[in-house]
């Protein structure tokens, strides 16, 4: 019998999250973010968090909610351009920020989950990102050594999941979620639809359940669109 990872809700899923912890949160912009769990983090009122997430949400949604409540001490992200409160806290020095090239962020999370403590990448060589990091040439091209990232809790959002924690993501809502799922000491997955064991095709699963410790079906997904861009019908 497969190992069950099911918990009742965001409250149970986020049990044990404490102030000062390091969290990974999946999503790209507001796409594929764990909405239910973020609300629960607001409810918990935990502070001094280090959050690893590609973006920081917008002022009133996503990780912006945690920024409003001053719950985040440090952000590790690649792009934070859509959040005025973020920029204000960062420029005023209230918020520590570690900006990382997007590909290095993704690969560092994967490395953390895959037991690869460090790897070489060309990204960031010769820039602020490379300062203080080991440099080495491979095939005549300079690279820098980047180290793995892990988290006390990784919180991800999937489209479908089964009771064993197997996850399937939808379209570009996949983004950082699979790598972060690998890198959490405890990985929480919230899904739009929780299905019984055996309902997912084992060939089509993106994140194997071995990486997931807790899973629940979320409610009331808002799925806010940041840049609604359309064309007119001809």
């Amino acid at each position: 019998m497969a190992i069950s990872k099911v918990v009742a809700n965001a409250q149970e899923a986020c049990a044990g999250i404490e102030s000062g912890m390091t969290l990974m949160l999946g999503g790209f912009g507001l796409c594929g973010i764990p909405e239910n769990s973020i609300k629960q983090l607001v409810n918990l009122g935990v502070t001094n968090l280090t959050c690893i997430s590609n973006n920081a949400g917008v002022d009133d949604f996503g990780l912006g909610l945690l920024l409003q409540g001053r719950q985040i001490k440090k952000m590790i992200s690649s792009y934070v351009g859509e959040n005025d409160e973020f920029e204000r806290q960062m420029l005023s020095g209230e918020l520590e920020v570690d900006l990382i090239p997007q590909g290095s962020l993704a690969e560092r999370c994967r490395a953390g989950g895959a037991g690869i403590p460090a790897f070489f990448t060309p990204a960031g060589y010769g820039t602020e990102v490379g300062e203080g990091k080991e440099t080495r040439d491979f095939n005549g091209k300079p690279h820098i050594l980047e180290t793995a990232l892990t988290a006390d809790y990784a919180i991800v959002k999937a489209w479908k999941g089964d009771t064993a924690g197997n996850l399937i993501f939808k379209a570009t809502a996949r983004n950082f979620n699979p790598m972060m799922a690998m890198a959490g000491t405890i990985t929480v997955a919230e899904v739009e639809e929780l299905v019984p064991l055996g309902e997912l095709n084992p060939n089509e699963i993106h994140t194997p359940g071995i990486f997931v410790q807790r899973i629940f079906q979320g409610t009331g997904y808002e799925k806010r669109i940041e840049q609604r861009t359309v064309r007119t019908r001809g």
């Binding site: 590909g103 690969e107 960031g124 379209a171 979620n177 669109i225 861009t229 064309r231």
Partner: protein, 218 residues
């Protein structure tokens, strides 16, 4: 003098059959509107799609389907979704043949700065550092001068760098320039722009061709 669409149209001439292309936010995004006839290319967006299509019709927007600029998009037949690690495996592994990016500054040695104005603008580099560090064919699409009329083609970048010695070509509202041998080599003038105007607007070392400078054909 070109507008943003004109720059995009000129860059679209660089597309070759079979190219996988990554288009940055802003002017580069517009390049997709000018794919030459008879050419098959596929657009990669680093948030996790290959085979990106045009914006959806109103009412067809899917919040789970966006591009790297967070805009709602569509997927073409044959499209594929993937995670961010796989996406940058494509980029870092040089499987993408052409990268088009905006920039705040480009230096005559190919350095590019487009992610940070110290103490003022702190948006982050997103995927730009991975793109410029990896791609072999990087075209910058930008205005030749900034809002204060100052040249963006410089002897050296003054802003924090995004990548070093990586830009191969620059297309601006005024000109097409190739970067090599530590200089901007003028290839084409935009319609109605004189060589003298380009010289005046270029702070970095500008090398003119032996003969006439042709006007872009758009």
């Amino acid at each position: 003098m070109l507008d943003k669409n004109g720059i995009a149209k000129r860059i679209a001439q660089e597309l070759q059959d079979g190219f996988y292309v990554n288009l940055g936010i802003g002017i580069p995004t517009l390049v997709a509107n000018y794919i030459p006839e008879g050419i098959d290319v596929e657009f990669q967006s680093e948030n996790g799609i290959l085979g990106m299509g045009p914006f959806p019709f109103e009412g067809d927007e899917d919040p789970d389907l966006i591009n790297a600029g967070k805009q709602t998009i569509t997927a073409m037949p044959g499209a594929v979704y993937f995670d961010s690690a796989t996406s940058f495996a494509m980029i870092r592994g040089q499987h993408v043949q052409l990268t088009v990016l905006g920039a705040m500054e480009v230096a005559q040695n190919g350095d590019i700065a487009n992610w940070k104005i110290p103490g003022r603008m702190v948006k982050g580099m997103g995927g730009a550092m991975d793109l410029v560090a990896s791609a072999e064919n990087i075209i910058v699409a930008m205005m030749h001068t900034n809002k204060r009329g100052e040249s963006k083609l410089l002897p050296a970048c003054s802003l924090p760098l995004t990548g070093v010695g990586c830009v191969t070509k620059v297309v601006t509202n005024m000109a097409t320039l190739e970067i090599k041998d530590n200089a901007f080599h003028l290839l084409e003038r935009a319609p109605g722009v004189t060589v003298e105007e380009i010289q005046a607007a270029t702070a970095g070392k500008l090398v003119l061709p032996a003969g006439e400078v042709p006007e872009m054909s758009l």
